[in-house]
Subunit: 389 residues, 2 copies
């Protein structure tokens, strides 16, 4: 264990999360000597992590220069890979999207073909945004299955043949020349919605209702991944609606087998509708089809049944519903709220917000960018990058 005095990275963290500050203000804030502050600011300026703010502040004497975080210093590559679809983006260091695209892609083609394709798309997207590989400070990737975050390797992912244990960072880093961080797609969506929409909420649940159902957990403003990185797998919690229905996991009565997008599309097909997937189900709801509306409302109740327990257990400040089915809007949300408010304890629901995602399909890429920024802009990492030059 090494304990270091407030270094350049700590100064950068202050400027990154706040407004522009002068040398004197930074001295007052940190208790550091003027010479120390100057030395650290010089190092950060050298590396372009900060820049002088637009207007110098004068208080009578020589005008004092204020410094601000330089969000344009580098860029981040972000990818949200689903089962059949991918969204890619180049962002700046404040998660602003500089270029993006959304394309069909089959995760079942295996890691090498998918990642080969990903590198080409990233290179083309970088050109589009006016950048090159030398500008990137990191790469963030979300995958549709369990991932061991510390190694970036998928762990027994059910819908990703060939990916089990594949070293994604080990394969990508030499090709892209920057650190690669990987997590499951629900976790990065939770990060994105938390960072961009609800940064003031300490404890938040993000529920993705797509083909399957999963949950990203924010506790004290950080992702809770659990002992094996498996936290948030609420799709296989048993609900009371259809206790006999067999789930793809082999168990019966799982939430996903009742309220997931695939289950709803199947139930609608059984009712004579031409629904291939969750998007078709949402389209039916939006067209006003009563059977579809009834089903989506019941799916909301089923999800709400599980969330009601989690509200008592976890006491979150906000629950955000995302995934394809969240586009069905109030019908799903109404069912979720109905069960939460009827089953959870008053103290825990008193100030609880239950809302649908606000970033739409972008939550994943923005969260992937946040994951990278929290890593490469951590005080320790910045101290190391500044010292290494």
């Amino acid at each position: 264990m090494t304990i270091e005095a407030a270094g350049a990275g700590a100064l950068l963290a202050i400027l990154r999360h706040g407004e522009a500050l002068t040398r004197t203000e930074l001295m007052q804030l940190t208790g550091l000597a003027r010479s120390t502050v100057s030395q650290r600011l010089d190092a950060l300026l050298d590396h372009r992590w900060i820049m002088p703010a637009g207007d110098a502040i004068s208080s009578g004497g020589r005008p004092a220069v204020a410094f601000t975080f330089n969000a344009g210093a580098r860029v981040v590559l972000a990818a949200d890979l689903g089962a059949t679809h991918a969204r890619l983006a180049v962002t700046d260091l404040a998660t602003q999207v500089l270029a993006e695209r959304s394309q069909d892609m089959a995760i079942t083609e295996g890691p090498e073909r998918v990642l080969e394709w990903l590198v080409q798309e990233f290179e083309s997207l970088l050109r589009e945004s006016g950048h090159t590989l030398s500008d990137i400070c990191g790469v963030g990737i979300g995958l549709p299955g369990p991932v061991e975050h510390s190694t970036g390797q998928p762990v027994n992912p059910p819908i990703m043949p060939g990916w089990d244990g594949f070293d994604v960072p080990g394969w990508l880093e030499p090709r892209l020349g920057a650190p690669v961080l990987v997590d499951n797609d629900v976790n990065i969506m939770a990060l994105g919605e938390h960072w961009a929409v609800s940064p003031e909420i300490g404890h938040m649940l993000f529920v993705k209702v797509g083909t399957g159902i999963g949950c990203g957990i924010i506790t004290e403003h950080r992702l809770h991944r659990g002992a094996q990185g498996a936290a948030g797998d609420i799709g296989h919690v048993q609900v009371t609606t259809a206790p006999e229905r067999v789930c793809r996991c082999g168990n019966i009565g799982c939430l996903e087998a009742v309220a997931g997008g695939a289950a709803i599309a199947e139930q609608l097909r059984a009712a004579g509708q031409d629904t291939a997937d969750s998007r078709d189900a949402v389209a039916l709801v939006r067209s006003g089809n009563p059977a579809a509306i009834q089903m989506i409302r019941q799916a909301g109740r089923d999800i709400g049944e599980v969330l009601a327990s989690l509200v008592n257990f976890f006491n979150p400040g906000a629950i955000v519903i995302g995934g394809d089915l969240s586009d069905a809007g109030e019908h799903l949300l109404a069912g979720v709220r109905e069960l939460i408010y009827s089953r959870s304890l008053p103290l825990a629901t008193q100030h609880l917000t239950v809302r649908v995602r606000q970033l739409g399909d972008r939550a994943g890429v923005i969260g992937a960018s946040v994951m990278v920024l929290e890593h490469v802009l951590s005080p320790t990492a910045v101290d190391r990058s500044v010292a290494g030059a």
Copy 2:
């Protein structure tokens, strides 16, 4: 926000959690200058937070003195107040119990009478341990209901008439002359079992099965209290066993109404047994009564049904079952395990430990002591105490 260099408190944290170290070893570990380390060690020695370790270490030249945390520098007062029973202790700064007692007490007598009694008991216990009020560095109290930890005030506690919103620290601090920290009893039991038995586990659930049922949540080695401090209230999660049974909360089918100690005692009475409370039920189980064994096993399954969902959601490394009913031993635990292993995902149960409490009735007072120590021995608090002298 103030960022300070590694102060005396940081040095104390190193010595408190590790072995005795010399001045030179501390310099190497922290990167601080010799003069700075010496100055801080002197301040810690002055306040008796540290002391020279038994044997000086010689490497040829002048023998170097190693310093170690002085767990005997002060004492902590700890109380675990239940509905009808209290356990009190005086501990040293390493949570070793120096004196303790266990007594009947009715929480329903209201805060002033209970706390008046508590002060007298603490004073008598201090004398017994050979200490006085001037030796205490803090007081930790667990209460049998929801508590807003930041203010130490009970929040709508169902079985504590007169306590709602009562300022426990405000009443006790002038009388005891030290900071008073308050939390609910399940949280302090979780802290105690984590600190003393499973400190290596990052994410742990402690389930108290007494008259009622509650859960203490450890995430990244710290208590998770949730947005309103209401986290862990699993007693009112709905289970499938008796969906029509009315709970004291007004809802139906709650876990506590089915598997809590009061519910089991009542069911045994209905079956012709003379059981007043959960302890009587445990005695029946231990005497080999088949009806009681069957009921406790089913209670384990009901609790396991709720925990199976939480294992998927939270992915803990360990689950500890405590409270009176945990004394029924393997019968309860077997039911809990049965449901967890049949309903949770393999990835999440692969390395999961499910055990009964090891500290017995002492978990609460040891946890209350831990709560105080984490507060008064935090680096910031130590820096302040050392600077204030």
